[in-house]
């Protein structure tokens, strides 16, 4: 197990190195940040000054070497635009995004799992069919449209919920989250619902497919033949078997939700890091983009690791040590 974790972390370091190089070169190829940072009437001298201050006058390989050297000491550079440490900028906004992503994921499971199981148990009933039809909508409706419609209905027409921004942030046990204030929770409802919709649709389909498959297994019939109550047959024997794919997909999706909740954050003016990434790309703010992707990669690697560990907890046949990869 420990060997597995260490090997996994080493692999992720390699991925990190490759990715940082790609992003470095990529941003360099897109354009010159100095052209964006300098005011339109700046002189050639001013421009050279800016370039020198940012270290952009040196050749690319040298810039990369400096970056790597600094990064190894935990310094990921300062934002060209804000002049603040890039990591600091990201962490400032990460709380809001992680909070949104986690709430959305929890909601999607709480909604998707029971609906999916129900649809799997009664595939031919009206309710079961409606759930499946609904999940297709959940898949195919574009996030921005759903967001706008939710705002239209609940904020504009009914006036029940706020349409934008993060509400009051409370703190509890040193954690800062809008979940700790009523105002914060009210602000979370619409964006979290929007974000949860697609995930819930995925969960419904996975749960339904899983139930349909597992229900015909001999061990389910054997569990019934033992005289177990139906809720134990479904809640333990079936559920534990269908959780394997659901945990895998959900775990991986949390990562992508955190990393790329840009659309939802934009619609609801949510002060998360998705917006920061878009702005930084537009401004060619390389340190922030690189630092952002490092954070995202780190989150994805961690989630992958957690998923693999959970996988071995859920499925005893999986032995982490022997696994290659």
């Amino acid at each position: 197990m420990l060997v597995f974790i260490i090997r996994r972390l080493l692999q992720s370091l390699l991925a990190l190195a490759v990715m940082s190089l790609l992003v470095f070169v990529g941003v360099y190829l897109i354009g010159d940040p100095v052209a964006i940072l300098a005011s339109p009437d700046a002189t050639e001298v001013d421009r050279e000054q800016i370039a020198r201050a940012l270290g952009l006058d040196r050749p690319l390989w040298e810039q990369y070497a400096v970056f790597v050297g600094e990064a190894l000491r935990g310094n990921f550079g300062k934002s060209f635009v804000f002049g603040q440490p890039a990591m600091g900028l990201i962490f400032e906004r990460m709380g809001a995004t992680v909070e949104l992503a986690l709430v959305a994921t929890v909601v999607s499971i709480l909604v998707g799992l029971p609906l999916g199981i129900y649809a799997g148990l009664r595939p031919d009933g009206i309710a079961g069919r409606s759930i499946m039809a609904g999940s297709i909508l959940g898949f195919s409706l574009p996030t921005f449209w759903v967001g706008l419609m939710l705002i239209m209905i609940f904020a504009v027409q009914l006036g029940l919920l706020p349409a934008s921004g993060r509400g009051q942030v409370g703190s509890f046990l040193g954690l800062h989250s809008s979940l700790f204030t009523l105002n914060g929770i009210v602000h979370l409802i619409l964006p979290a619902t929007t974000l949860a919709l697609v995930r819930a649709a995925t969960t419904i389909r996975l749960a339904r497919a899983g139930v349909r498959e597992v229900l015909h297994m001999d061990y389910v019939k054997f569990a019934r033949a033992k005289g177990l109550p139906e809720r134990r047959v479904i809640g333990v024997h079936v559920l534990k078997n269908i959780m394997i794919p659901i945990v895998t997909v959900t775990g991986l999706e949390i990562g992508s939700v955190i990393a790329f909740a840009v659309v939802t954050e934009t619609i609801y003016a949510w002060p998360g890091m998705g917006k920061l990434l878009i702005d930084s790309i537009v401004n060619l703010d390389r340190p922030v983009v690189v630092a952002y992707l490092i954070v995202v990669l780190f989150i994805l690697v961690m989630l992958n690791l957690i998923v693999d560990i959970l996988y071995s907890v859920l499925d005893p046949r999986v032995r982490l040590g022997e696994q290659k990869g």
Partner: protein, 327 residues
């Protein structure tokens, strides 16, 4: 013999309502099993023997349904019992052992979980007491160091071991009736012998009635007291095991016996039953076996009744092998 039989199935009909039509998987099946008695339920794949077993437990999957007859378990009709009553009987009074031991245990739950839950589903005992009983049950079926094995997952057992675990689970509540659906088919011959021996011993000791569903006549010969032969959803022959196997009345039973290789007929050509089991959706009119039967003629287009042709020996045939029956 005045006591109520453990299981008395009367004119059971279990049909599957599929899109292609009504599939009469079990069509007018009757048999009786008394306490401590072992009945072999013999037939080819698709003859309805497994569905008969599931019908007794009320575990027929939709679109299947029991549409007629009665299943009297110690006098109580299970065909019309409520789901909650059936659940209470399942596992505690009527247990089932399945065909494929690789598939019957849940792969993601430990053996102790799967055993104690079976106890706790029927009895209010402590977790600890349930564990102790589970361990004792494992020891009873010949599993070494049961305490340790309780902590294992099914994939850490061999096929034979898993079937022993399944049998131990079936025996946990000392049921009155066990339905065993080809439990040794997937196992090695040596393991098969051991398990047959264990099951037989347990039944004799505890007075459990046993319905042994199988296609293997040699197993029936060594194990059962009575035998019912099924073909296309109907019982075609029924009687004491010696009568049926030594003096088969129905050409189908005769054919089955002829297709078993035997030392007494070394060098002779193995007889076989021509053709295949007919689809239950397209059964020939009259006797379902007539398309494959060497004795069939015009009279067979009418379904014969199951008749007692020798004392305690029933067959459903127009032209039974009465000459060999010595009646």
């Amino acid at each position: 013999m005045s006591e109520t039989p453990t299981l008395e199935v009367r004119n059971l009909q279990t049909h599957f309502f599929t899109r292609e039509g009504v599939l009469k998987a079990v069509d007018d099946v009757s048999f009786t099993v008394r306490a401590g008695e072992i009945m072999g339920l013999v037939g080819e794949s698709g003859s309805g023997k497994t569905v008969t077993g599931f019908s007794v437990l009320g575990l027929v999957d939709p679109p299947g349904r029991i549409v007629g007859g009665s299943i009297l378990f110690k006098g109580e009709d299970l065909a019309h019992a409520g789901e909650e009553r059936l659940r209470a009987l399942r596992g505690s009074r009527i247990a089932m052992i399945f065909q494929d031991p690789m598939m019957t245990l849940n792969p993601v739950l430990r053996v102790d979980t799967q055993m104690t839950e079976a106890i706790l589903a029927h009895e209010q005992v402590s977790e600890r007491a349930a564990r102790a009983r589970a361990a004792a049950a494992l020891a009873m079926v010949g599993i070494a160091s049961p305490e340790e094995r309780l902590l294992a997952y099914p994939h850490q057992f061999s096929g034979g071991m898993r079937q022993r675990v399944a049998i131990a689970i079936a025996m946990l509540h000392r049921p009155d009736l066990i339905i065993a659906d080809e439990p040794t088919t997937a196992l090695d011959v040596t393991i098969q012998g051991q398990i047959l021996y264990e099951v037989q011993k347990l039944c004799r000791e505890t007075g459990t009635a046993l319905v042994w569903v199988t296609h293997d006549l040699t197993v029936v010969a060594g194990l059962a007291d009575t035998v019912s032969v099924m073909y296309a959803g109907k019982i075609v022959e029924q009687g004491r095991v010696d009568d049926v196997l030594d003096r088969p009345l129905h050409p189908y039973t005769n054919g089955l016996l002829g297709s078993v290789p035997s030392r007494n007929r070394r060098g002779q050509k193995l007889r076989q039953i021509p053709g295949m089991t007919p689809s239950l959706l397209r059964l020939p009119q009259g006797c379902a076996f007539r398309s494959r039967c060497p004795r069939a003629d015009q009279a067979c287009t009418e379904m014969p009744a199951l008749a007692e042709l020798a004392p305690g020996h029933l067959a459903r045939c127009v032209h039974p092998h009465l000459e060999t029956a010595g009646a």
